[in-house]
């Protein structure tokens, strides 16, 4: 929150001495060991003053100064005048743990998620950026509006309850959402939302916002009130919000672990490996949650295509090759010549087999083998994934396919969603997954999909 008090002013002469100062500046200077009539004692301010005098222009900059035990963030403006300079300080803020800059970026990210189209304006509310996302409605030509006032693009509606949220935002510097408006070009109703951009001194310098068609927004609201497990675009939002930061964490941790910048102490390198692994784990959870909300939707559909289960099984085994050898487990692959034509969605079938084979690898003993076999059963094409693990008792055969189920409470890997999602996917493709197992006898998971002749 910015300090709304009037700016604090002082004067410095051509020799760098503080000749006049408002009380707050005088105090700040005194605590730094200076006094009126002597050189400005706050180092960051003195540096800015000297630079401005040599460059001969007005300068402004955000400055951090220490005061007692706190740190203050100030906006400092210096302007040459009469041989010396005037110094103006504003926006006094005490620095807390997380920086205000990061908060602004995060706000902009949330605003971006609020709609499909993104727009930006300068301080005079002229459009400087306009990107139409998916599903651009007819008659809407974003390019033609660039440079024009925002009100040329949208007719803003006066909301009897809330007035003009956008006006409030511009004057107070706060964000707004739910401003109703109409696209002038085709009369479609939209909701607008935005965060404000300010310069360092807190002056308004533009809006970063999004627009969402009212009919889409209302549809989403209706769907979420129908009791679905997650709001309809949860997956997409999650993806945007989590994937990028996680990818960055993993990439950085990987490069630390690989010691690309030079040698590291061994334990630091292995911490980095832990970080990368935890990052990957989280990314896996994000994927699982996304898939979960997708398969739960009433309108979830698979686009069926001609696939070869043998090819997909070979690919899945290939993807897991490294993980298998790390656990000293062998995957006994199918021969190149085998085929098993079926109907399903390539990507989803691959996902299911990676899940099944991955489980088999995880539960295999060291030195063990995972077998893959193909079989035709009536009008179903089957892939059997067999492992030599500890096996699953018959009373648990249905439980393991439940949501968030874990047979082993100590098991930390995975989200407990893999088999649930896999079975939902298999069923959506017209097939199923079954298990045949008993304690001490390993397990055989069978993916069945409609066969194709």
């Amino acid at each position: 929150m910015l300090d709304r008090m009037p700016p604090v002013v002082g004067r410095i002469d051509s020799e760098g001495k503080l000749t006049e100062a408002d009380q707050r500046l005088e105090e700040l200077n005194r605590r730094a060991g200076g006094a009126i009539g002597e050189p400005l004692a706050v180092p960051e301010l003195a540096r800015l003053v000297r630079l401005a005098m040599r460059l001969g222009i007005a300068l402004s900059r955000q400055v951090v100064v220490g005061e007692d035990e706190a740190e203050l963030e100030l906006w400092a403006s210096v302007e040459p005048a009469d041989g010396g300079v005037t110094l103006e300080l504003g926006g006094w803020t005490e620095i807390r743990d997380w920086s205000s800059v990061a908060a602004a970026t995060r706000d902009a990210d949330f605003a971006a998620m609020a709609g499909d189209w993104h727009w930006e304006t300068d301080a005079s509310l002229h459009i400087t950026r306009l990107t139409a996302g998916a599903g651009k409605p007819e008659g809407f030509q974003p390019e033609a509006m660039l440079g024009h006032p925002l009100t040329d693009l949208f007719r803003l509606s006066d909301d009897p309850e809330h007035g003009f949220p956008i006006l409030a935002a511009v004057t107070s510097g706060e964000e707004f959402a739910g401003q109703r408006a109409e696209i002038r070009a085709n009369g479609r109703a939209v909701y607008l939302s935005a965060v404000t951009r300010t310069d360092g001194s807190g002056r308004f310098s533009g809006l970063v916002g999004a627009a969402e068609l009212v009919e889409d927004a209302d549809k989403k609201a209706a769907q979420s009130s129908e009791g679905a497990a997650f709001p309809v675009d949860f997956g997409r939002r999650l993806d945007k919000a989590l994937r990028d930061p996680l990818s960055r964490i993993i990439a950085n941790a990987d490069s630390i672990h690989a010691q690309t910048e030079g040698p590291l102490r061994d334990d630091y390198a292995s911490y980095a490996a832990d970080i990368a692994s935890a990052g990957r784990h989280l990314l896996g959870l994000v994927s699982d949650l996304e898939d979960l909300q997708l398969v739960e939707r009433e309108d979830f559909e698979i686009s069926p295509e001609a696939i070869d289960l043998a090819d997909i099984a070979r690919r899945a085994a290939g993807l897991l090759g490294v993980r298998a050898s790390q656990g000293d487990v062998r995957i006994d692959r199918l021969s190149e010549r085998e085929t098993m034509p079926a109907t399903g969605e390539f990507r989803r079938a691959l996902q299911v087999l990676v899940n099944l084979i991955g489980n088999a690898v995880r539960y295999s003993p060291k030195g063990g083998t995972v077998w893959l076999r193909l079989e035709r059963e009536g009008d179903m094409a089957c892939v059997i994934v067999a492992d030599q693990g500890k096996g699953i008792a018959p009373e648990n055969h249905e439980r393991i396919f439940g949501k968030f189920e874990r047979l082993d409470p100590g098991e930390t890997e995975g989200s407990g969603l893999g088999l649930y999602i896999s079975r939902q996917l298999a069923r959506a493709m017209g097939g199923d997954i079954t298990v045949d197992s008993a304690p001490g006898e390993g397990a055989r998971f069978i993916l069945m999909l409609p066969a194709r002749d």
Binding site: S124, H126, R129
Partner: protein
């Protein structure tokens, strides 16, 4: 020109001091330093060993490079797959369609061509990130639109479309974090397209000669189409150069525009205006912006006859954005710089008016050449 370049005490136009000579001479090794950065760029992207690239920038460059290559790949596939389907090669079409991306394989190859791609992506990304880091300046009056908005709204036959084209190109290019794909210049893009097509070919196993021939043809068509489609491309840099030319033709003061463009955080426009004023290529000025060891950028601004306060303002904003120029050093040399006549400054930069491909080729053949 040789005497200016010798770097020794030479009396120019009534006694510019040693300091001025030194400033002018520092421009000399610019191209060599640029090549050095180019060589480092590929290492940078692959193994991350550049001082400039902190984690965030390295991530942005990596993403931008990948996005650039993936974009090429998508275009080739978008032509090859329908073509294969139309001749009945369904299995082959499906293999091309479902093949995982070859981008990583293409990027990891250590070659001159790849180095140039990486260098260009690094340069474009770096400029974008620099621009977005310029501190926002609120205008004196709220109802005064920003520079580009003003130009776009103006209803001038030539300026308005050029300004809107730049606004659009910048909007398209920029995800806000510098990680979007980069439009590569023609001499650099062509070789990349062929390498991507070859990588796709090598990743697919075909059974029999007929299949192999069909695949080769489809991929070649895809590659050729991708090259042709992009020869008309206008990226932000190109749009900025066109706007600069249009503004001069419309009688605007380029000097005024240069000052306002940085305040409006339009670094591409700033670069283009300066480049156009000096009749050099956009990449030449871009190189100067990144030449933080040299004073070339200040000499260039002097050559464009910018007054003292504008040079100071531009230097300050760029330094605040993180350009790594030593602002204190500039503050010290500013008076000396202003003693240089614009014509002398121009003469010192004369080699930048030569084609960048020519300069690049000279450096590639003779890295230690002491010319310029």
């Amino acid at each position: 020109m040789n005497s200016l370049m010798s770097g020794r005490d030479v009396d120019m136009h009534g006694g510019a001091a040693k300091g001025a000579n030194r400033l002018l001479a520092s421009v000399a090794a610019l191209t060599a330093r640029a090549r050095g950065r180019e060589m480092a760029a590929l290492r940078t992207v692959l193994r991350g060993d550049s001082a400039w690239l902190d984690d965030r920038r390295r991530w942005a460059v990596g993403m931008a490079l990948r996005a650039t290559v993936v974009a090429v790949e998508e275009e080739i596939r978008a032509v090859a797959v329908p073509q294969l389907l139309s001749i009945g090669e369904e299995t082959l079409a499906e293999r091309v369609e479902t093949l995982p991306t070859v981008a990583d394989r293409v990027i990891s190859e250590d070659s001159e061509s790849n180095r140039r791609v990486a260098a260009e992506v690094v340069a474009v990304t770096r400029l974008r990130l620099l621009g977005s880091a310029i501190p926002p300046q609120a205008p004196e009056h709220h109802d005064q639109p920003s520079l580009l908005a003003r130009l776009a709204e103006r209803d001038h036959m030539m300026v308005t479309p050029a300004a809107m084209a730049l606004l659009k190109a910048e909007a398209d290019a920029d995800n806000g974090d510098g990680s979007g794909p980069v439009i590569l210049p023609e001499p650099i893009r062509g070789p990349l397209v062929w390498r991507v097509a070859a990588a796709i070919r090598l990743a697919i196993r075909s059974s029999g000669k007929m299949e192999a021939d069909a695949l080769d043809l489809a991929l070649c068509d895809g590659a050729r189409r991708s090259i042709d489609n992009h020869s008309e491309d206008i990226d932000a840099e190109e749009a900025a150069m066109r706007l600069a030319a249009t503004l001069e033709a419309a009688g605007e003061s380029l000097v005024e525009m240069i000052d306002q463009s940085l305040a409006d955080r339009r670094i591409s426009l700033f670069t283009a205006l300066l480049a156009w004023a000096l009749r050099v290529e956009f990449s030449a000025i871009r190189d100067l912006i990144f030449d933080d060891m040299g004073n070339g950028l200040w000499v260039a601004m002097r050559a464009a006859d910018l007054p003292r306060d504008m040079i100071a303002r531009a230097a300050f904003l760029l330094s605040e954005a993180g350009s790594r120029h030593d602002i204190e050093a500039l503050a010290d040399t500013l008076d000396t710089l202003m003693e240089i006549a614009p014509d002398d400054a121009r003469a010192a930069l004369a080699h930048l008016t030569l084609d960048s491909e020519y300069r690049h080729a000279l450096r590639a053949l003779a890295p230690k050449w002491v010319g310029w």
